[in-house]
Amino acid sequence: MMPLSLVRIDDRLIHGQVVLGWARVLKPDRIVVANDRVAKNDWERRLYTASVPPQLKTSFLALAETAARIRSGEFKDESVVLLFESVADAHNVVEAGVHFDQINVGGLHYRDGTRELLPFVYVSENDRQLLKDLAGKGVRLVAQDIPGNPAINLNPLVTTVGASPSGGI
């Protein structure tokens, strides 16, 4: 297994909080964007690559490829930040046989059919089920937008249907 310094679900993928916040603090060698759409879209890859300082390597991998490479230990000598766009994508890689100790839910914004768990975390019922399943597999789910802010334990919030966002924290 590679020593993943951060596994993060964030619908913005690479952006200011990741590059200026997390990469500054964690000093990773590489950012891996695990996303089927971006992996096959040259323009989007260039857009995200342009956001990253030149000393930081970037990889854009399809989900199946991500799982295969993590399982084979390809990045084991590097410190890696792994980014998913959605809960479903992260769950997909776990289903493909990868274990994560911890996943940071760093930004899921409002979409139709979602409800607020935290001001920067909106989940659909399907997201909640998948997060609950991840929690059941021993993944610690934390919500933390940037390094200086508190890491909020999400596990209790995703295990109950209709859990009150404020009451659960």
Binding site: G16, H109, Y110
Partner: protein, 130 residues
Amino acid sequence: MVACIIVTHGKLAEELIETARTVFGDFSDCVAVTNEGKSPNALFEEMKLLIDALEGNPCIVFVDFTGGSCCHACMRLKVDRDDLAVISGVNLPMLLAFLNKRDAVPFGQLPDEILDRGHNSIRLVDPNNL
């Protein structure tokens, strides 16, 4: 009149416009947008509505920095559009340059005028070497 949309993190865009009013006087056709609490898609759709409402009228889009979600949304909008110019690193002198020049020079020349002003506005200020 060339329009302007300023897209930033937090309240920066709103405050830039408010502050420019205290220096330049009142002006129109400038809109502030924040990315706060918005998914990439929501931000893109909001920007698209604003741009579509201009019906082809040229527009300068200012963003705070390259690489952030504001800039990403604007880059997606800019693809294949000549009626938009996207400029990053917005500061007050750049906005004031826009307001001064928007009807004075052809649209194609406007971005360079704004960039020049922006570049010139950033310097080490040395009172002994005026």
